[in-house]
């Protein structure tokens, strides 16, 4: 037991020896091990999602002064299972004129796109992903989700689905630019694309170096998941859903499972990039402890995401796009430039001075940005308070309408 806590790879070695003793060839043993590892890595998040759905419903209910699910099981803990059962036995309606192969592929891809983020994530010292192009891998896996949305919208043979898919893709694509830009900063600070190296480099968490970048990353990630306040396009509580309007039963559930899992995954990713990943007291000696730390940090960020969801109203689509292109992208460009130049200057200063220098630069950038935004806001026309405002678009009333006979 102690050996396992110190070095989890003994488990793998033990399994390998066991399989070899059963007479399996070396190649087949590796394949079985990969399959087992893959199963563990895929089952874990998928089961976790069921808990997340319960947690989120409960948390949002508390924010809104409700109880949330409380009938099935203790605290309603079994509610998600009941939901899954119900969705399983729903009729699977395929709309007329749907492009069948693509219609089936879309929900599968949308979950796969999120699951595929997981093998790159370093879960602890020597556990989990250790890819030398890890950051790029994450960005690449994300494109799968965009494609799923495009396919869902197109294959449903529905005007609303197609339009929503287009708008959603435009949104995702717009928010990917600041994300890719901001991710340059951890890479630059750690001098590596390897996520394990990025975690190892965080003797001081990168959120101390570049808090602004961390904030941008969080905002952009929420937009990439398409949650409130960025979920205008599928506002499921008010308008007809978005690109998945024609989906029912389990296919529909898969889109939502993907969304919930993605929300938690961005928590984990934020932790990896900016909150020191699996690092914490004792995690170097007991790597299993690292998984726990990572999970806690990720869950904390996830809670913040839920909190934002429960608090903020939706943003209009033109504001949403403007926010990305005209605010986040220039800000991220500035941050990368400043960070790059500064890091060359302070490279020999030791850990804390370097971190504080970066922090100071971030504070300066933040203050300047605030001033600029304030100056911009001052120039905006303000609606006059107290005057009657038109309910809908005002018609030009140049001359009174001639009275008709009746």
């Amino acid at each position: 037991m102690g050996a396992f806590l110190r070095d989890p790879s003994v488990l793998v070695e033990w399994l390998r020896a066991l399989l070899m003793s059963w007479g399996l060839s070396a190649g087949l043993t590796e394949l079985v091990l990969y399959l087992l590892g893959g199963f563990a890595l895929a089952t874990g998040p998928m089961l976790w999602v069921i808990f997340l759905i319960w947690f989120e419903r409960k948390a949002v209910a508390r924010f809104q002064d409700r109880l949330g699910p409380n009938r099935v099981g203790k605290f309603g803990l079994l509610q998600p299972f009941a939901d899954v059962l119900k969705l399983m036995t729903k009729e699977d309606i395929i709309p007329e004129g749907a492009d069948k192969p693509l219609y089936w592929a879309a929900p599968i891809l949308s979950v796969a796109g999120v699951l595929l983020l997981w093998p790159a994530i370093p879960l602890g010292l020597g556990i989990g992903g250790n890819l030398n192009v890890g950051v790029l891998y994450l960005i690449a896996a994300g494109t799968l989700g965009i494609f799923a949305i495009l396919l869902a919208g197109w294959s449903s043979n529905n005007k609303y689905a197609l339009l929503a898919a287009f708008r959603t893709v435009a949104q995702l694509v717009s928010y990917e630019v600041p994300m890719v830009l901001v991710l340059l900063l951890p890479v630059l600070l750690a001098r590596s694309l390897n996520l394990q190296d990025i975690v190892q480099a965080q003797d001081v968490w990168f959120v101390v170096y570049v808090p602004l970048a961390a904030l941008i990353f969080l905002i952009v990630s929420i937009a990439e998941v398409g949650r409130t306040p960025f979920d205008l396009l599928e506002a499921e509580s008010e308008i007809i859903a978005g690109f998945h309007i024609e989906y029912s039963g389990m296919k529909f559930a898969m889109f939502f499972a993907g969304e919930f899992l993605h929300a938690f995954t961005i928590g984990i990713l934020t932790a990896v990039f900016f909150l020191g990943g699996w690092r914490g007291p004792g995690a170097d000696i007991y790597p299993v402890l690292g998984i726990l730390y990572l999970w806690l940090k990720g869950f904390l960020v996830y809670f913040v995401v839920v909190w934002i969801r429960a608090t903020h109203p939706r943003i209009r689509i033109d504001h949403m796009l403007n926010f990305s292109w005209k605010f986040l992208t220039p800000l991220a460009l500035t941050l990368v430039t400043v960070g790059a130049v500064l890091d060359k200057v302070v490279v020999g200063w030791g850990v804390w001075p370097r971190a504080l220098a970066h922090l100071a630069s971030n504070v300066v950038v933040a203050l300047v940005t605030l001033q600029l935004v304030r100056a911009w806001a001052r120039r905006l026309p303000r609606p006059k308070v107290g005057e009657p405002r038109p309910v809908a678009r005002p018609q030009p009333q140049t001359q009174p309408q001639p009275a008709s006979g009746d």
């Binding site: 893959g38 729903k90 009729e91 709309p95 197609l162 339009l163």
Partner: protein
């Protein structure tokens, strides 16, 4: 070391497709199947659909994707620069900055041409 990582990802890719596919197929066979023309009809606010699901899309969609494409390509090439940062001399840093400035120029151009604005269809259309 990297080879095994990628082999694992390859195996995981198959699993990641199978995991969501299984419940969907299961649900497809577990549920009842009584299709009728009205149920299978495409949703259209309670009305019967007419015509094709064709909507005249705006050029804005294309423009957003376009600016994104340019940014994406350039940013991917910026990553090796960031990785090699520790061993780069000062002028190499400025070459990278020049690259970023090029991006900024692209952004400014797109901004000034109003390619990043979202026009509503009800807006008075500009003349072609």
């Amino acid at each position: 070391m990297n080879g095994t990582q990628w082999a694992f990802i390859g195996v995981f890719f198959v699993l990641a497709l199978l995991f969501p596919a299984l419940p969907i197929v299961l649900g497809h066979f577990m549920g009842p199947r009584r299709p009728n023309p009205i149920k299978n009809d495409v949703y259209e606010c309670g009305l019967k659909t007419y015509g094709t699901p064709w909507v005249p899309f705006k050029v804005q969609f294309y423009l957003f994707a376009l600016v994104f494409l340019i940014f994406d390509v350039e940013l991917v090439f910026l990553y090796p620069w960031a990785v090699a940062y520790g061993v780069l001399p000062m002028f190499a840093v400025f070459e990278g900055i020049l690259f970023i400035l090029m991006l900024a120029a692209a952004l400014v151009y797109a901004w000034k041409r109003e390619a990043l604005d979202w026009y509503e269809p009800t807006m008075p259309e500009a003349t072609d």
